[in-house]
Assembly symmetry: C2
Homo-oligomer: 190 residues x 2
């Protein structure tokens, strides 16, 4: 997505070879016009897939996910990141480790908002190691629902997440694919 | 806002005299068409106020805030809820206690995303005790920026938040104002 790549080049900050900071237009301060365009783009790509729900993980996936949800005219569900496990018959939980934050989260959803008939599009801001995406997939498939696709705003292709999801056979659509952050330079795959 | 009140009556669940659960269309599962209408409504009400930024607190304020940000054509900033204080010259923090969650948070913003020239609209999903709103105001005013208004999706008028903000002289606009949840019945102020 040209608009997104241009903004990454203009506004992204390379912290080191592994970390790109985009908190002036995606993560902390948010450009809602860009989020709208992202929603339109994901909608155009996934609209043939008969999606029933959009899932995202709190909190930086919410802005692109709500715009996609609006365009596709289906509900969005925010998966909650609990730091402790909850014993409760009303919810499903899957735990995962975020390498970025070095924290273990319990990804949590109320049983009311997923059923085995759901065809779900997962939206997230970043794909790096793929731990959050894998946990979301597990949460969805444990119920017998289907993951029809994964929409990512920024993918770091030099980290393992994309390869893992490709090998598992998921349809991953990333709007910007970063090949390298080496030598203080952002390189995209086209 | 008639549409919102109707949805609250149809889909809201009274947990007890103090707690209304709206997690099937606002907090957990999110109705993005409703969020769009909320954005349009806040935009119409506040557009005369020369707003430069929308602030919200992660994570259930993000969906209505990004829609409002889109309509008003200004950036949104997501205030982060840290559970620990961070010693860092790049950020501002204000701590507050959430009565609902019985937790103390450090509301956090990067210094890059606020300046004394900003005129800020705060958007949040709920107004109850007003602790989060007061902390947001303090964070903004400590920098010398201006709070031009506070947009709330659902206000519980029987809890102290609204009165406190009124007495401090802020322009609070709530789309649904709940007077009582007693006797298993939702009553609005009109």
């Amino acid at each position: 997505m040209k608009l997104l790549e241009d903004m990454i080049l203009q506004k992204g900050k390379i912290i080191n070879e592994d970390v790109l900071k985009v908190d002036n237009f995606i993560n902390h301060q948010v450009d809602s016009k860009l989020m709208k365009e992202i929603g339109v783009e994901f909608s155009n790509y996934f609209k043939k897939d008969k999606i029933t729900k959009i899932f995202t993980i709190e909190s930086s996936g919410i802005a692109p996910a709500v715009m996609t949800s609006y365009e596709l005219n289906v509900p969005m569900v925010i998966l909650k990141k609990q730091t402790s496990a909850i014993l409760n018959d009303d919810i499903y939980q899957v735990n995962y480790k975020s390498f970025t934050k070095n924290t273990t989260y319990n990804l949590t959803i109320s049983k009311d908002y997923i059923s085995q008939d759901d065809s779900i599009l997962i939206i997230d801001d970043f794909l790096a190691n793929g731990e959050a995406a894998k946990a979301s997939i597990k949460l969805i498939e444990n119920v017998g629902a289907k993951v029809v696709g994964i929409g990512i705003v920024i993918e770091k292709t030099f980290q393992p997440g994309r390869k893992i999801l490709d090998e598992l056979g998921y349809n991953v659509y990333s709007l910007a694919r970063i090949k390298s952050l080496k030598n203080n330079k952002i390189e995209f795959i086209n």
